[in-house]
Symmetry: C2
Subunit: 322 residues, 2 copies
């Protein structure tokens, strides 16, 4: 295996990358042909694409290639889960500078592969091209197993709002890293490698979720999309969120209210959903608010916290100035 | 609609782009949720991803945004067709500089949409992020309609090699453009906007193709992949290719043997396939060679022209030096 992807060449790199991939029963035809063939037993396929760019979505000095692979797979697989589907496959488009060490690319692929394995999916294909900036384009596919997709527009007045997974851990880790620290380890790790609750997507659908969303831009921002699409408002109760003592301690140390991380931090890929208030939710779902009749002239979309607007660091707009 | 994508913002841009998209019967859920839902009646889905970068795969001074959209959709949809499948959907990952005119992005989307329409597909989702270099990551999906996928590894000794679609037109157009000319128009247009024979993919599968490939890197290079995967060699007959008089004229004018464009030029997205010699091929397929027992110690992969090695400008390696 040669030192850089430029020395190895396109086909050599593809060979190195695809050699690392196991095939799962969902894959009828893996990498190496014009296209892959993935089973879609439901007769429908769930599909989503995200793009990640070095310097904007990850930094090589903060995250290993392996962690970038885990994280970039996770954020796409979480989108599939949040529809109520089981992830089956991902495809990778990789832009790599010619001087990128080959090991960076192979470790990236190891991370993609291992995160896929957690979610029950596999990497089935992709493309590599040369360019100045490392860029990953990940497409994830999934199978609904007969379920109706759980969309953003189904929230009903009177529903409870519940969350599962981690909230605020990645944002706390990012704050720590951006101030030059490498610990506490649990938060830094959460930033480098989120752990979306993949199982909760299909399970939430089976429990009767009326709407569901992957929390990638921050809970308030993502619930805002749900509220807007559903023509409702949402009110959250600050006291019902879990702020671990260690998170509160870091918050105090760096002068940040940890509730900002919990309510406005994305990238943990928690799942938020609305359920009829009659549904008995298992303990892994935490009820944190409710769906209320909209008071806004804009016909829904407002998310309040304890009845008041939440305006402390909104969601993430990829084109906003940095 | 504001002037640049930076002024418009991420969500504004997504609104502008998705407003341009029709939905087709294959789309159960289009853009705007965590993921799209596309019908896959066959119970399997064909999936492929390609990445295109400004300056490497397209130039804004040579191609309009609309043409870039047509071309980038075409090359992915052609990969789906070359498996024997009918394209159903594409997803777009777009990296855009903040100063990119919004009209460039919307015209790109118009091109994607219109090329999808030719192939019977639609744009169902995607992602936009900010970055320095315009980059498109396109994922295409397709449905096999009950067919076995036609892979690269099925060519048999004694099969005929046949092609359908255009060969060499895009390469001739690129030569013309790179020398500063804008005509002959037919070749320049072919470079800007290839016309893959989408219908020929499923039709070729139904005719009994033993292997099939989208010609993207050049016919000899792509048939080399087929030969290698099948453990055979392939011999082409130069006299059996169609070199239009106008192409011969340009070749003479610029000092290039047009057969180089036909045999080594990619990007027209013709389809090449092998068929048992007993198959009666419709006129749209041109028989140009045959599959022969391999003479090479490397167990197949050699493509000869009239029995001799073809070494004039090989396939395209995306990491080779420019």
């Amino acid at each position: 295996m040669q030192g850089t992807v430029g020395e190895l060449g396109e086909f050599g790199l593809i060979r190195e990358l695809t050699a690392r991939l196991p095939l799962t029963p969902a894959v009828e035809l893996g990498p190496g042909d014009d296209a892959a063939v993935v089973k879609a037993p439901d007769g429908r396929v769930v599909a989503t694409t995200d793009v990640l760019i070095e310097g904007r979505h990850f930094r090589r000095d903060w995250s290993t290639a392996y962690d970038v692979g885990r994280k970039s797979a996770a954020q796409n697989l979480a989108d599939v889960a949040a529809m109520g589907a089981v992830p089956t496959a991902i495809l990778l488009g990789l832009v790599a500078p010619a001087d990128l060490p080959t090991t960076w690319a192979t470790e990236l692929m190891d991370g993609l592969r291992d995160e896929c394995q957690v979610a029950g999916a596999t990497v089935v294909g992709g493309d590599v091209v040369r360019g100045d900036t490392i860029t990953l384009a990940i497409t994830a596919l999934g199978d609904l197993q007969g379920r109706a997709p759980v969309v953003r527009s189904g929230a009903q007045v009177g529903d409870v709002v519940a969350v599962t997974g981690w909230l605020g851990w990645s944002a706390a880790g990012l704050t720590v890293l951006s101030r030059g620290f490498r610990s506490p380890r649990a938060f830094v790790e959460a930033h480098r490698r989120p752990e979306p609750p993949y199982h909760a997507g299909p399970a939430g659908a089976d429990l009767g979720a009326t709407s569901m969303v992957d929390v990638s831009d921050g809970l308030v921002a993502d619930l805002g999309h749900v509220a807007k699409a559903s023509g409702v408002d949402i009110d959250l109760r600050a006291a019902d969120f879990d702020v671990p003592a260690q998170m509160a301690d870091i918050g105090q140390a760096v002068g940040v209210d940890p509730l900002v991380w919990v309510l406005s931090g994305g990238e943990d890929h928690a799942i938020a959903a609305t359920f009829p208030s009659t549904v008995q939710l298992p303990a892994r779902w935490r009820v944190v608010g409710e769906v209320v009749r909209t008071a806004s002239a804009a016909r829904g979309g407002q998310v309040t916290v304890d009845g008041a607007p939440w305006d402390r660091v909104g969601g993430w707009d990829h084109f906003a100035s940095e």
